[in-house]
Amino acid sequence: MSTVTTTMQRGTRRKNAPNVLTYVALFLISFIIVVPLLWMLLTSFKTDFDAINSPASPLPDPFTSEAYVTLATGNLPILQWFLNSVIAATAQTVIILVTASAAAYALARLEFHGKKIVFGLIIATLLVPGVIFLIPNYLIVDSFGWLDTLWAIIVPGSAGAFGVFFLRQFFIGLPGEIEEAARVDGAGDFRIFWQIILPLSRPALATLAVLSFLTNWNDFIWPIYVLLSPESLTLQPGLSVLQGTYSTHFGIVMAGAVIASVPVLILFTLAQKQIVESVASSGVKG
């Protein structure tokens, strides 16, 4: 790099340099974000009496895992809800990865009759708000006998256009040389898809997997209406049942919230860069 640009960049950067106030503001915002989450964690280790009588003191006195024991052994099957959430989110993620990557391959790398129409239909549905599908899909799921089963949580939500759109953008950007060489060697479309396109797309597939898992794990409006019996719930509707059942047992409700948060916070910490960048690029390119 020439020294001229470096000096210029440095000049720009100096003018954009942070001062103490910048850091004060950032720490203050961090504080506002983190304290409620920390409070949730600390309250989950309080006794009922402590949580109600000294709400303004953050530290549990005494420190107890009573709330978690109650949840694990009580009459609400929260471990079952946790398992249901894991199964539903994992299964839906797998279905999305398989179906969306195959569809995106056809749309990005193959020529065929009706391509524009198929792609247009898929993209158009991105603009339709979810509320339109709520009642028709309830009836469809009911007619399949899927009400109150995990099928209702896994299958309908795996049909979204986002995954196809996201992977298609990525597949279009892949270089064609290796693919052409493979074609010359007699490889068919399936081998090219499986042995070339998918391995090259690991970062995009991982990002889509994380986003799909988070979306399914956190879904609320759909599961509260299609899951009804206590043992079929996932964690998010389970939390609202928990809140209703233990309305003044704050320690227990917070313990439930912690259990529902920890997996996604771990996932977020591991995949922060991919999540944040894919979200950022959705806005910048969009």
Binding site: P18, T22, P55, I140, V155, F220
Partner: protein, 313 residues
């Protein structure tokens, strides 16, 4: 060529002919089939099926669904009908939430993005912290804040009392406090999302423009209005649209924190539609409502796009 297309581009339908072309088309649809089956059943079909339902009095518990034409739609625009008052009250609640939350959901993330866009240490860590609440579901966020804001036993009022401030604020049970809570919680929950998008937009602005503005003697405010805001325009259009639509779809916060109360004042349109359709079994009326909501949102989106486009001129 860095990125040659595998198959030569085809014009119209004339390029694909004969057995080879048919085989290609067949292969492509084999790849598309798994997706299209699920997509057809749970996206394309329900989009049309919903319209059909909206033309009936549709109670899933009864075998007979009498066809009533556009009656469900007319009812929504006829004062005094069963659904008129409640539906428009819920639309009003959604409107209040949108008008109250969108400015904060734009201004706060923009301010934070400007801070993060400076050459700070630990920018990624701050960005991660600000984004973290967004990965939690609305149920977690809502039960957490319902606990913190509980008027009698909650932490926020207890802390206010320690500070000697008014400590009997009915955060979740009276208006306007309920609205302040719902907006505040939503900003706390989702500010990281818009921050990250706006930050990417800021990083995309050519630094030479700031350099040039400095040479012309522009101060910080002038640079913000003459370089930053115009440079952010395309990203802002996206953020405004997405924020408007997601605020208009607010459901979980009201459902879990205020339960639509006091009375039904914070019951949003989505909450009312879901209740009418899936609890009261008035599916025809509820589907009609969902199309009316969709139509209004579509009009708002178009107006928003027009305004944003005009501003660039």
């Amino acid at each position: 060529m860095a990125n040659p297309s595998i198959v030569p581009p085809l014009r119209g339908g004339s390029g694909l002919r004969g057995a080879a072309a048919r085989r290609k088309t067949l292969t492509a649809y084999l790849f598309l089939a798994p997706f299209l089956v699920i997509f057809g059943i749970f996206v394309l079909f329900p989009a049309v099926y919903g319209l059909w339902i909206s033309l009936h009095v549709w109670n899933p518990l009864l075998d007979d669904h009498p066809f009533v034409g556009l009656q469900n739609f007319f009812d929504l625009f006829t004062p005094g009908s069963i659904t008129y008052g409640d539906f428009w009250e819920s639309m009003r609640a959604t409107g209040i939430f949108v008008v109250a939350s969108v400015p904060f959901l734009l201004a706060v993330p923009l301010a934070i993005a400007l801070l993060l866009n400076r050459r700070i240490k630990g920018g990624t860590v701050f960005r991660g912290i600000f984004f973290a609440p967004y990965v939690l579901g609305v149920a977690v966020v809502s039960v957490l804040w319902r606990y913190l804001l509980d008027p009698q036993l909650g932490v926020v009022n207890a802390v206010l009392e320690l500070l000697g401030l008014p400590s009997d604020i009915p955060w979740t049970v009276d208006v306007p406090w309920a609205w302040i809570s719902l907006v505040g919680i939503t900003v706390w929950w989702t500010l990281g999302l818009n921050t990250v998008i706006l930050l990417a937009g800021l990083k995309g602005i050519n630094p030479d423009l700031y350099e040039a503005a400095s040479l012309d003697g522009a101060g910080a405010w002038r640079k913000f209005t003459s370089v930053t805001l115009p440079g952010l325009r395309p990203v802002m259009t996206f953020v405004v649209t997405v924020t408007l639509l997601s605020s208009a779809n607010m459901f979980g916060q009201s459902f879990l924190i205020t339960q639509g109360g006091p009375g039904t004042q914070t019951r949003t349109a989505i909450m009312y539609i879901a209740d009418q359709g899936l609890v009261q079994n008035q599916m025809g009326a509820a589907t009609a409502m969902s199309y009316v909501l969709f139509a209004i949102l579509a009009v708002v989106s178009v107006i928003n796009f027009r305004l944003q486009r005009d501003n660039t001129k």
